[in-house]
Symmetry: D2
Subunit: 337 residues, 4 copies
């Protein structure tokens, strides 16, 4: 950390910062330039409050040098993390597709979708049973009944199953029924929930908050990792910007940037990013070309009858076409599906 | 709700929408114009999924006419809600100031701050004990010990006390110790938590998500209201934009817009909005001039020693000055502090 | 256009709107629903001021049905526009790469870059001579001298040359020296300039404003088209968002969305989008996978000595690698470079 | 400027940067810390390209210490600039209100508005004759005819007149007819225009780009100042964010932040910020409470008949009320209107 003093800072201001650095158990390295005095802070800074010096007299700017995360960073863990379960390796050569309906609506709908997904050789089913809905009057998901349907699919087909959970008290129940715990965009900074899934030992699919920076995403991953769970996957799903032609703005740059900053697998959800099935395929191909380790794609047997997100769900025939096109692009960048 | 059909829509597409409207228990009112066919949907639409028609063939656009919230809106409840407790009325003539440290750090620090706040005639103390911190390595708050300190202040001084909570399982404990439950910006769409505080019966201070629209804020208020709790206060605290000179961008327009849309009291938190004590006073005055019903202001006896948010906390002498200035502006717009 | 009246609107309010519609030369189609009265406006609406009804008593909402652009839209011109010059076809099967340095710095630098670009079989050189710099103290470009160097390259190599211009009075001079006129992100809404290049008859490369919507981009294209110039190419180059890990946020969704809305070719500039050469290649591949008709890539023989944008420029060897990778992805989506 | 080297930087990388610093005419001050080597750059840095070091091997981060503007900053010019003309002082004790219609539409409309404005004791008339319209089919302003009407008002009433111009070639003509040249939000980075108004010697009202940071606004002011024109006024008019309840988001924090960074007067345009006359008054009061030196307010005798921006224009009676309320708040913060 570097503390840059204002040009108008007095000798006493500089001394104040130096003493504060020492009180905090670090060393201060003073460098008096022509235009500014700079104080380097040396020692264990991850516990240092970012703002501790900003409130002091004479301080112009505080610059972090070390990343605020450690376990999530490449510095600590240079090699790619591969999350392995049920014979699937996420973060390795294969691009992993996870597909399914926004919400479990009924046994028929779920089975029909699962069959359509399996028919394309895709082994991971993703479907929601606890739905975070903006309106208290909207369908909130089937809850426990939906979990049981997911477990039934899992047992009978051997598919790997992913579902979202929303509160710490749901962790045990959900972990019994599915393989991967999803943290949704609105809960990326629900720290009690991150703590709880960290302790669960189950693989976690952490979606980026629609309002969160990549650094904040990595800090949320750090919460999970720091509670002993190494199986964390990140998912870019679109951020909120001024543009409204699409539901969100897919931050495709997050793929190469995150792959550089972290060893964790990086997936992309093109469905929520654009909010319209007509554009999902283009974004899916872009994600794979950019280096994504996997995709989350919404599929529904009858999108126009879906209880949520129908407009962004692919019909089975369109999903089949997407898988073929993804395979071609994956091959072009040296990967397989 | 109005469904606008694409120019290329076929007769069958139009019929499809009309039938779907009827299946959903509503009536369809068809209007064939020169450039577009428009289908008005008549009936109870608050339960209609916003996207139910967007996925259908031939649909160009779906326009909501009714607001998606009901209990929170002026239509349902034209007169201002006044939240009354301990002889304080929030949402009435007086501008209510809530002040205190970002976090409870120790008995001494809390008492010192409480005394400084009371010395200005301010009766509401706000301080955090469960802190949502971006980093798992930062100070996470004193938890239960902090609650006891808050209860001590409340008992001995009669001050009204506000604190944030982060998970449904904390509701009972927190409700025992303080007067107002705060939902923080990162939890504005933590629906399980909204449900839980809705059932608690305690007054709720709901902060706007830093990247949530005003409509989403009202939908979150609707969650609390729809679980039987009428004592909801809204708080604008800055939104995330491209500008980085300030920590967030105070959306001052939210004050008149929310006052028009809802009957709930609207407060402003200038401290988190700008992130720097030097600008807090200007923003506080602006908020009151714009019509805010109250302010949340961070005060710390020694900001440079604060365990969090020191750079945006006012020293007691500066807080005293702010209160005087706020009184003058409040008087100019026909209110008192 | 649909005018939705407020529930509280009086009969006189409705009549007021109907009369205003007629005064403006359109017809009003009234539809009295249970929850709202809706007035359809029929006639030539492109000249109607969007806000003309919003200021009237009793009006709740005004909804546009027709797109505000005409010449740029697929409705008017369903088939893809192909911009053809010097044997190159932009907007057809081939993905066109335009490459070169941010700024022309010297004859040596320009020739060295042009040779490196040509060596990869790329025939379009893009380089700036009038530089829009945030600071008046930064290098502003070589101006006329730079234009002569570009013309020299064009004459001696047969390369197609693109450069940016910033003011209407530069149009004639620039049009004499180069093949394609670029409008930069800061001038997307410089209407006098759009008017001038519209009249020039030269192909125009119109970059999206960094905080402009896709619709605004199409409206700016409409300015050029409406002044008689049909050779307009659009370029997505990143938009400004809250994320700062990258210089801008590449809005990759703009590729499929624009391809659907307009017949004009859509290019992508991955260099300005991310601002760092390490990520340029990933974004270039993503753009091609998503369906872009071309790429703008910054190349510099010695990026660390560049007078501007060195950090996002590719060295010739890295550019050569990018071209190979782009070819593979283009083939995977059925195109060539 | 401080160059922070990556932990993995080699000795040769460090030497490379040091040599580059010297080549650029500056001195390098090396500081080898435990976690990073830091190179302080000493000398005239305003001409240093921000990115010159970022492209070099081994560089992790480049931190600016000096502000990139000079003439616009308080460091160079600590005392407030007061723009004085026609007996009006902008940037001094009085809060200056500039009011008028979005566009000059006719002699009658302009005189009626001017009379309504003067009736409140307001001496500055603002009205557009060159209108930057998103659509080429919208009313583009009366041009020269409008300028003559403005000059007529000026001559007969003694009012000070402000109007926007859009291209360098308009400067002489506009400067003959009015007192203050306005640069609109879409032209804040039209550098040729900034250069031209800089040389005109006329007072300039520079509106913040809707997509521009405060620092960029100050850099644009620097362009005008560096061409010899000291009479620059800044105007915050709302920025573009994700929120759509208002036309733009008024960045009220810009008032105290800009007043701290620069000596130039800071005005606020509440009309464009919110886009709806019902909220203009609240925002105007907020601006004055926050410390703004002036206001730009749209007034129209018949907003529902306005050719542009009618929905955000105040009728004369509402403007009269606004002036009274602004006077009260101005008095509460120690100023007058």
């Amino acid at each position: 950390m570097i503390v840059v003093m204002a040009q108008a800072a007095t000798e006493a201001d500089v001394q104040g910062v130096v003493e504060r650095v020492r009180e905090l158990g670090c060393e201060a390295h003073l460098s008096q330039g022509q235009e500014a005095t700079i104080i380097g802070v040396i020692g264990d800074q991850r516990r240092l409050r970012e703002s501790v010096f900003e409130a002091m007299d004479g301080v112009a700017q505080v610059v972090r040098i070390l990343k605020p995360y450690k376990l999530a960073g490449r510095g600590f863990h240079p090699r790619d993390t591969v999350v392995s379960l049920n014979g699937i390796a996420i973060g390795a050569e294969r691009v992993v597709i996870m597909a399914g309906p926004c919400a479990v609506e009924s046994r028929e709908q779920l089975w029909e979708t699962a069959d359509a997904v399996r028919a394309q050789g895709i082994g991971v089913l993703r479907a929601g049973v606890f739905k975070p809905r903006t309106s208290p009057y909207s369908f909130q998901g089937l809850g426990r009944e939906g979990l049981e349907l997911l477990a039934e699919i899992r047992a009978e087909t051997g598919m790997t199953v992913v579902t979202e959970l929303m509160a710490p008290e749901q962790v045990d129940l959900v972990a019994e029924h599915v393989d991967i715990l999803q943290i949704g965009t609105r809960n990326m900074q629900n720290y009690n929930l991150l703590h709880a899934v960290g302790e669960s030992g189950k693989p976690v699919l952490l979606k980026r908050g629609m309002m969160s920076t990549m650094e904040e995403l990595l800090m949320s991953a750090e919460y999970v990792l720091s509670h002993g769970n190494e199986d964390v996957m990140l998912c870019e799903r679109g951020i909120r910007t001024f543009e409204r032609a699409t539901r969100n703005t897919l931050d495709i740059s997050a793929v190469p940037v995150l792959k550089e900053l972290t060893h964790l697998p990086v997936l992309v959800d093109p469905s929520h990013a654009c909010g319209n099935w007509r554009w999902v395929s283009s974004l899916a191909l872009a994600a794979v070309a950019a280096g994504a380790d996997g995709l989350l794609v919404e599929v529904h047997p009858q999108p126009e009858m879906a209880l949520s997100d129908g407009e962004q769900s692919l019909r089975p025939d369109r999903f089949a076409e997407l898988v073929q096109r993804v395979k071609a692009v994956a091959a072009a960048v040296g990967r397989e599906v």
